[in-house]
């Protein structure tokens, strides 16, 4: 599997700054109740992902498929069962109103923008850089940062172990049964060895780190030094302009004839 990508300016942003800016954006979006504004913001976020992620368009498209399902599943409950006055359709328990429809759509776009920002972050940030940056810029305790980095390194080992267990059961001819008991057996026969081995391994790593004089002191040297650059400014400016321009456009050219979606 080829997972290569081009480095763009999004990759060069300081990871801590990127994370905190996106969290602020997340909280800001929670207070946006105008559907037209939210749609403009979502398209701005999608544009950032599509053009600047540095990953092949095919891969980005594949990753976007679940977003569509989430969009539908998030909006459907509210559309079908939400409160509202202007009835469009009533069928048994289902009651679609104009208000619930737009509110549902709003929730769908909200899920979409969160997912887009999250994926943009995940696709353009190396976890190692993130934790080094958190230690340097916000003084995260190195005990936590290095534990995270060691933990992420263990993921491939966990996957390998999972495959080993599966193969071992196949070789020994463990029957694939159906029903609740078989499901319980399956969960147990995978989770217990995986968990216990992971705990043993983590324990060994911790002992080894302490034996090599890892103390978790904040006053230490770093192999990777991360600072700030012009790219950080561009990123913050992009989101700032997006918020203002998105609001302006939503007033001038509203897509839907509704304002606040709350009941």
């Amino acid at each position: 599997m080829d997972l290569s990508f081009n480095e763009t300016w999004l990759h060069k942003i300081n990871p801590t700054l990127k994370l905190f800016t996106m969290i602020l954006m997340f909280i800001f979006v929670l207070f946006v109740h105008q559907i037209n504004w939210l749609i403009n913001l979502t398209f701005g976020a999608l544009l950032l992902l599509w053009v600047f992620s540095g990953h092949p368009k095919k891969r980005v498209s594949l990753l976007l498929i679940p977003f569509l399902i989430i969009f539908i599943s998030t909006s459907s409950s509210m559309i079908l069962f939400g409160k509202g006055d202007t009835t469009w359709m009533k069928w048994g328990l289902v009651h679609i109103t104009e208000e619930s429809f737009y509110r549902g759509l709003h929730l769908g776009f909200r899920a979409l923008i969160f997912a887009t920002l999250g994926l943009t972050f995940a696709l353009t940030t190396r976890p190692v850089n993130l934790f080094y940056s958190l230690m340097q810029q916000v003084k995260l305790n190195p005990k936590y940062a290095y534990s995270f980095m060691a933990g992420l390194r263990l993921i491939p080992i966990m996957i390998e172990e999972f495959l080993t267990i599966r193969n071992a059961m196949k070789v020994r001819g463990v029957e694939q049964e159906r029903g609740v008991r078989a499901f319980y057996f399956k969960i147990k026969s995978y989770s217990i060895p995986l968990l216990s081995q992971s705990i043993r391994r983590a324990h060994r790593i911790a002992v080894a780190m302490e034996a090599k004089r890892f103390t978790g002191e904040r006053d230490r040297t770093y192999y990777y030094k991360l600072g700030f650059s012009l790219n950080d400014g561009i990123f913050v400016a992009y989101l700032g302009v997006l918020i203002l321009l998105g609001y302006y456009l939503s007033v001038v050219w509203p897509l839907f004839p509704v304002g606040d979606v709350r009941y």
Binding site: I23, F67, A115, K143, A150, G216, Y263
Partner: protein, 193 residues
């Protein structure tokens, strides 16, 4: 006795949590494929996303572990590219906090199925508060909202409460928990004899 978290505790907690982070990520597709069945059936499996906190707490039995585990699991899920993106990170923080508060209320002295179930309910309440801000859930019709809340809480008790308890019970038989748990009063008494 020093009750703070040592490197071993942190590392073991985070490794367990990252394992759960992968489970959380895989749980996503299951969740949204169950969702179209309607009537909030999906809420019954929501409790899986609270499990890291209770399992880690039962294994390590120290203050702060539940919160750290839930945050770490959410971070793991976020970093491998969750469909919900940033949302999971903030939900993780709130869910972990609420589970931790329940364990704190019992002064970190009880490890039975009741307390763990209460912590699971705590996480569920935390997630419902987040959904209140994010999903306008108060604007659902009343019968529908009650179904939503009821299913989420039942699901979290079953998965993050009862199932987590029995999972760790089974894990204890492997002896691996003795590596990481603090020495209990019984251990000291055994030395005196």
């Amino acid at each position: 006795m020093n009750r703070g978290l040592k490197l071993t505790d942190i590392l073991v907690t985070i490794v367990i949590a990252i394992g759960f982070g992968i489970v959380y990520k895989l749980w996503g597709p299951l969740y949204y494929f169950v969702k179209p069945l309607g009537l909030h059936i999906d809420q019954l499996i929501y409790g899986m996303w609270f499990m890291a906190a209770t399992v880690a707490y039962l294994i390590i039995r120290k203050p702060g572990v539940a919160f750290l585990a839930e945050v770490a699991a959410a971070s793991g899920e976020f970093l491998v590219g969750s469909e919900w993106g940033l949302e999971v990170l903030l939900f993780g923080v709130v869910q972990g906090l609420f589970a931790e508060l329940v364990f704190m209320a019992f002064r970190y002295k009880r490890f039975d199925v009741t307390v763990v179930s209460l912590a699971a309910i705590g996480s569920a309440v935390g997630s419902i508060i987040m959904d209140y801000y994010k999903g306008y859930i108060e604007d659902l019709a009343l019968w529908n909202l009650s179904l939503f809340l009821g299913f989420r809480i039942i699901g979290s008790i079953l998965i993050a409460g009862v199932a987590a308890y029995y999972l760790v019970k089974a894990l204890e038989k492997t002896g691996v928990t003795n590596l990481v748990r603090p020495a209990s009063k019984q251990d000291y008494d055994a030395l005196d004899q």
